[in-house]
């Protein structure tokens, strides 16, 4: 009996003590983008790698090979991993460097959970002045740099040129894009009449952020200061109404696909469901590859552009970006140096990452001949200048995107009045922000 009790206690101690400690030269890199070790686990040829997962895995493999004095432990998290990261920070077990959407930085920075990085980036030769305008905006709060930007991504107009030709919407081998809401609706009608297909392919069924990003872009183009106070949104405005009504008209007249979720819309555009798919930079590679396949709806007929300017006030596109941030934690000098060596390596290889479709975070890369030689990058490079994130002080942006999307979806589908949807969206977002700020004790 005593023996059993002893064995039980020993087992319990073993279970309780099964933690993981970090070596002095070890850094923990926490990232999303998934796991693809079967294909890239031992690859170091970055130029040969494809996809976000393949390129980041190969980059880190290469860094390991070139820096044998540093032990790099990679921890992949389910996208986007912020609940997990918050939990790690709460337990004092944060990783050394983490992938973070620039839009999420304010949530952590405002709680003093991130280290400012500008000075140390400069010290290793990563000059923030070399960040693109969009990237610099994305990682800067109150004059400090809180992350090293890795890319800028934005929703784009992915275009089926074969249908556009059929609809007479091509000039000089370029798509004719609208320059006002009225022109957009006219062209969409013309497109449908000629092709029998809806002008837009949209993931309206489960992509709440897509609604919000459309709204942000066209509010920005009207120079509407909808977050004049980063703690309050203003949506009950003529500018917002104009945008929602435009999308509602497109929906009512069957000028967009309906009831497709993200996967169906992504596949649908490939299979010729419509003329323009509103989705981000990450799909460029897949659609470019599809356009090279024979006898397909996109065969030799694909291009991509930023959102066209529908309002004269400003050329702007809502943008976000992926960045690398450093949680506040105790590190050995070796670990600190290792993190910055890794960041310098990633900055030096920013072109490779830009092959994913995302825009580079560095001006020198975006202006480079090798970047411009990538397909369609000339069309979208201006986003490095026109790409605009929400103002730096706005917190809980993921939740805000979802909330706005939940309200706009029924308004666009005609199940709720535009006025009521904007009222509810504004009220819910402000309520959320009020409670967030009340909880965090901020003024």
């Amino acid at each position: 009996m005593k023996r059993r009790a002893f064995a039980g206690l020993a087992g319990a101690a073993l279970l309780a003590g099964c933690g993981v400690s970090q070596a002095p030269n070890e850094i923990v890199v926490q990232r999303f983008f998934g796991t693809c070790n079967a294909q890239y686990g031992s690859q170091t040829d970055v130029a040969a790698a494809q996809t976000e997962c393949g390129i980041i895995t190969t980059l880190i493999n290469k860094f390991r090979a070139e820096n044998p004095d540093i032990k790099v432990t990679v921890s992949t998290v389910a996208w986007p991993g912020y609940n997990q990261l918050s939990a790690q920070m709460a337990t004092g077990d944060a990783p050394d460097v983490v992938t973070m959407h620039e839009s999420a930085i304010p949530d952590f920075q405002s709680r003093h959970l991130l280290e400012p990085m500008g000075e140390e980036l400069r010290a290793v030769g990563v000059e923030p002045d070399n960040f693109t305008e969009a990237s610099l905006k994305g990682v800067t709060i109150a004059g400090n740099v809180w992350g090293m930007p890795f890319d800028t991504w934005a929703p784009l107009w992915h275009i089926n040129m074969n249908y556009f030709r059929q609809a007479g919407l091509v000039r000089d081998d370029k798509p004719i894009l609208p320059s006002s809401p009225e022109e957009l609706i006219e062209q969409a009608r013309q497109f449908k009449k000629a092709t029998g297909k809806p002008y837009f392919v949209q993931a309206l069924a489960n992509q709440k952020p897509a609604y919000s990003r459309n709204l942000y872009t066209y509010l920005m183009q009207q120079d509407a200061d909808f977050f004049a106070d980063p703690k309050r949104i203003k949506l009950r405005t003529p500018e917002a109404r104009r945008i929602v009504e435009m999308f509602r008209t497109l929906y009512e007249e069957g000028l967009t696909t309906r009831d497709q979720d993200y996967a169906a819309a992504t596949r649908g555009f490939m299979n010729g469901d419509g003329g323009v798919y509103l989705v981000g930079t990450w799909m460029i590679g897949d659609y470019e590859a599809e356009s090279r396949r024979p006898d397909r709806p996109l065969s030799n007929g694909y291009t991509v552009y930023p959102y066209p300017q529908l309002f004269p006030e400003k050329d702007a596109t809502f943008a976000d970006g992926h960045s690398w941030v450093m949680p506040v934690k105790e590190r050995t000098p070796q670990q600190r140096q290792a993190v910055y060596r890794l960041l310098k390596f990633l900055a030096d290889n920013n072109f490779q990452w830009a092959r994913t479709g995302h825009l580079p975070a560095f001006t020198s890369v975006i202006e480079s001949a090798e970047f411009k030689a990538l397909p369609y990058r000339d069309n979208i490079a201006k986003i490095a200048l026109t790409g605009t994130p929400l103002p730096a002080g706005v917190e809980r942006r993921f939740a805000i995107e979802d909330t706005i999307g939940e309200e706009l979806a029924p308004a666009i589908a005609g199940q709720k009045s535009v006025e009521a949807a904007l009222f509810d969206a504004e009220h819910r977002v402000n309520d959320l922000l009020f409670h967030v700020l009340a909880t965090s004790g901020e003024p």
């Binding site: 933690g19 983008f33 998934g34 997990q84 337990t91 599809e290």
Partner: protein, 279 residues
């Protein structure tokens, strides 16, 4: 007459049988579809998911999963956590159930009601204080940290209490007449009689522990301590639903295998648990 034949059944029986078959197909179809998707390449599925209906098929997604991630480590973690939790729940619920059903002590009924209140408190309501408590105790990223929260199950205590109450007290008295101690009565006489309830509770607990995602996500944050649900989620590429559908489905099937096995072998007890017929 062959078993299951429609001959000789009443019309209502036949209608029920047809309805059950239809419902069965509806329930099984998504699993079969997921299995089919898991046997196709991601590239094929990105263009058209109906390709699942015809060859070629491949095991590449399973191979990628097995060699591309520490999935066996996560399996071991899940097994330790699920079995640990199951054993712990059975021990604690049996002891508590016996105590509430058989022992007289001050405040017993009030404590029992308090335990039942636990059924009404969702995990989300206590997750932050629990997380802080476990931080103070240094239990995150340990097996104990993953197992402990699952041991306090109001449902288990309630189930076992009801089961013990259903056993006639004469059984205890007869054992005591034979000079059995109270613990011997519990251990040698009553506990064997509760085996059906133990099986039900054990399976229920195992399934819950295996499928749990929320607590392991924020407590076992180190990749070495991932359970299979958290680990497999971490391997998903962004937008897996379009660009990595085959791999995603292989992950789902792989993670579900132990559960499927438990269902196949213990379905009698699961049905009993769900129907509340353990007593």
């Amino acid at each position: 007459m062959a078993a299951g034949s429609m001959v000789g059944r009443t019309l209502s029986d036949r209608l029920i049988l047809v309805a059950v078959i239809v419902l069965g197909i509806v329930m099984v179809a998504p699993i079969v579809w997921a299995l089919g998707l898991s046997l196709k390449t991601n590239a094929e599925l990105m263009v058209d998911t109906s390709s699942v209906l015809h060859a070629p098929y491949t095991l590449q997604n399973y191979w990628d999963l097995v060699i591309g991630s520490p999935v066996f480590r996560w399996f071991v973690n899940s097994m330790i956590v699920s079995l640990g939790m199951t054993i712990g729940v059975l021990v604690l619920s049996s002891l508590a159930g016996y105590g509430f059903a058989r022992l007289e002590f001050p405040g017993r009924d009030i404590i029992f009601v308090l335990v039942l209140f636990g059924l009404a408190v969702p995990e989300q309501a206590v997750i932050i204080p629990r997380h802080q408590l476990f931080s103070e105790l240094g239990l995150h990223n340990t097996y104990i940290g993953l197992i402990l929260p699952g041991l306090s199950t109001s449902f288990g205590v309630f189930l076992m209490t009801q089961y013990f109450r259903a056993i006639p007290r004469e059984v205890d008295e007869a054992a005591m007449l034979d000079n059995a101690t109270r613990f011997q009565v519990f251990w040698r006489v009553l506990l064997p009689m509760t085996l059906p309830a133990q099986a039900t509770l054990g399976i229920y607990t195992f399934l819950h522990a295996w499928n749990d995602y929320w607590w392991p996500l924020i407590s076992g944050t180190n990749a070495q301590m991932y359970t299979v649900t958290v680990g497999i989620a971490s391997t998903q590429i962004n937008f897996a639903e379009s660009a990595g559908l085959g791999f995603l489905m292989a992950q789902a099937i792989f993670a579900a295998l132990p559960i499927l096995i438990v269902y196949v072998f213990f379905q009698k007890y699961i049905v009993r648990a769900v129907s509340g017929g353990a007593t």
